[in-house]
């Protein structure tokens, strides 16, 4: 039943894309987060996808290999009255770029939808195959 492994392949892609959506959500949630007492602000996170062979030669799923933290410098805003301001009067914000994250979110949700559609089509075809000869 080679068609059944489509569910594994697309399922792995759906779970990887949903993890990507989770990371985007946590980035967007921390877009305005300021540095804590340790002086380190939230770092934007990105998922790294990797191909996973599944059974056959040309059958490949996907998994999240690791989650990297962006090392870009974050925003620094001069605001001496802010409770989290450092000795020079600057407040360190996270380095999340909200526009980039929104684009990432749209891309992830489209890929998610694509894979769901693939699974639906495979399910329809398999159900029709089950009714063969009737």
């Amino acid at each position: 039943m080679s068609m059944l492994s489509i569910f594994n392949v697309s399922g792995s892609a759906v779970s990887a894309q949903s993890q990507r959506l989770n990371v985007v959500a946590s980035n967007l949630a921390n877009v305005d987060a300021v540095a804590g007492p340790d002086g380190k602000a939230y770092k934007s996170r990105q998922v790294v996808f990797q191909t996973v062979p599944m059974g056959g030669d040309a059958t490949a799923g996907v998994k999240v290999n690791n989650i990297t933290e962006s090392q870009e410098p974050g925003k620094r805003i001069h605001n001496p009255n802010h409770p989290s301001a450092d000795a020079d009067g600057y407040v360190n914000y996270s380095n999340v770029n909200p526009v980039e994250e929104m684009v990432n979110m749209i891309s992830a949700s489209r890929s998610y939808q694509n894979n769901i559609e693939v699974m639906n089509t495979a399910k329809t075809l398999l159900l029709k195959t089950l009714q063969m000869g009737q």
Binding site: S2, I6, S10, A58, A108, S111, T121, T124, M132
Partner: protein
């Protein structure tokens, strides 16, 4: 007589298996649309089908030859009938090629999502049509058997 009746069915069943295989490969491509460095795969259906029908007839003759000589591999008794089903290596592997990149991307991913989606829909429609051919000839054979 029955061999003649079922030969068309046999051909369509092979085409169906190949369509399922292609469906799986395209699903892999769509799943890896965002994976850096992934190279899209596809099969040349025409070549694969002709290769498959050629291979299976060769295998069939080999099986009948072995059946007349001794027990074929996979059977424990000379009276066992050998299965003429296709092996997994025959289905996949050799026939899957690499798709040509239409719009090169920086991360080395060669999946063209529009093309893959179009191929996916095309392949599923063709899968269904093959299924209808099979259903049609199965109905024909059944009505011939029942004589009604």
């Amino acid at each position: 007589m029955l061999a003649q009746m079922t030969s068309g069915l046999d051909f369509h069943s092979k085409a169906l298996v190949l369509r399922a295989e292609r469906q799986r490969i395209i699903a892999s491509n769509i799943a890896n649309a965002d994976t850096p460095g992934y190279v899209a795969r596809d099969i040349n259906f025409k070549e694969a089908l002709s290769q498959m029908t050629g291979a299976s007839s060769a295998e069939l003759s080999r099986v009948t030859l072995q059946a007349s000589n001794s027990a074929s591999p996979g059977t424990t008794n000379p009276r066992h009938m050998a299965l003429s089903g296709l092996s997994q290596s025959e289905l996949s592997g050799a026939t899957a090629g690499y798709a040509v990149q239409s719009q090169p991307s920086v991360d080395g991913n060669s999946v063209d999502l529009d093309r893959e989606r179009a191929s996916f829909v095309d392949n599923s429609v063709r899968y269904e049509s093959t299924l209808r051919f099979i259903n049609g000839s199965a109905k024909g054979i059944l009505s011939a058997i029942q004589g009604q």
